[in-house]
């Protein structure tokens, strides 16, 4: 599993950036879930997930996004997805995720949207 999926975390202007790479499937989703849990436990609710290096996602990975969205928005934050490759985006698309999640082209866009909205939910749900 070591080379199959990686998460790198960093802080950018009060926003927590999680850069994920490799594949997010039933095998690696638990590691991603632990990372999100960690952020919530540390009180970080303004999350940007940089998907530049994400090569694949299956329902187990999608499920992690799905299960934390409500809690994060309730706490005044959001989980925004940035730089999703077309091959991966089409999977989000099949399930209508783009209507429910804030998915933007670049990490900067995601940060900008936090700036505009403060921590508030963007009212799409």
């Amino acid at each position: 599993m070591s080379q199959s999926f990686q998460i790198e975390c960093s802080d950018r202007d009060g926003i927590r950036l999680l850069s994920i790479s490799g594949y997010l499937d039933a095998h690696t989703a638990p590691a991603f879930e632990r990372a999100i849990e960690n952020e919530l436990r540390s009180g970080n609710v303004r999350l940007v997930v940089d998907c530049t290096g994400l090569t694949y996602i299956s329902s187990a990975g999608l499920g992690v996004f799905m299960s934390y969205l409500e809690e994060i928005r309730e706490k005044g934050g959001d989980i925004k997805l940035a730089a999703v490759k077309p091959k991966v985006y089409q999977i989000f698309d099949v399930l209508g995720f783009p209507q429910l999640f804030d998915i933007v082209d670049t990490v900067e866009d995601a940060e900008g949207r936090f700036g505009l909205q403060g921590g508030a939910r963007d009212g799409r749900l």
Binding site: H27, M66, E70, E71, K87, Q90, V94
Partner: protein
Amino acid sequence: MDAFERTFALHVPSSTGNLAMIRDFVASIGAKAGFDDNEVARITLAVDEACANVIEHAYSLDETRQVTIRATLDSQDLSFEIVDNGRGFEPSQVSEDDVAELIRQRKSGGLGMRLIRAVMDDVKYQITPGEKNELRMVKHIKRG
């Protein structure tokens, strides 16, 4: 592509750690069938979801069980059969809440079968619990 039918099969221990191998297997066959990269990625997803269900639900993560994926390729269709002799279930009783509702309920699961149905042209379960549970799914090959 040639006229005759070609069959491929892969057997791996029932572990999520083997899903990547399963995806490589499916992606190779998808490319042989002439699907483009995005289509190959979707077909690969469908088989991954089906196998993840066998590994997690049918065999409850028991790595001593085996997952078998059979693929058949002819000039019209690429078909996959995933067979298990595990727990079994009633596919018609699986509820399909919409994703917004699943999010409200903070669910992390319940997306797999709908992804399979969204991607493949034909999806059939034949369940005989404890004996043999078979999922057969077909993707038509569109010729240009």
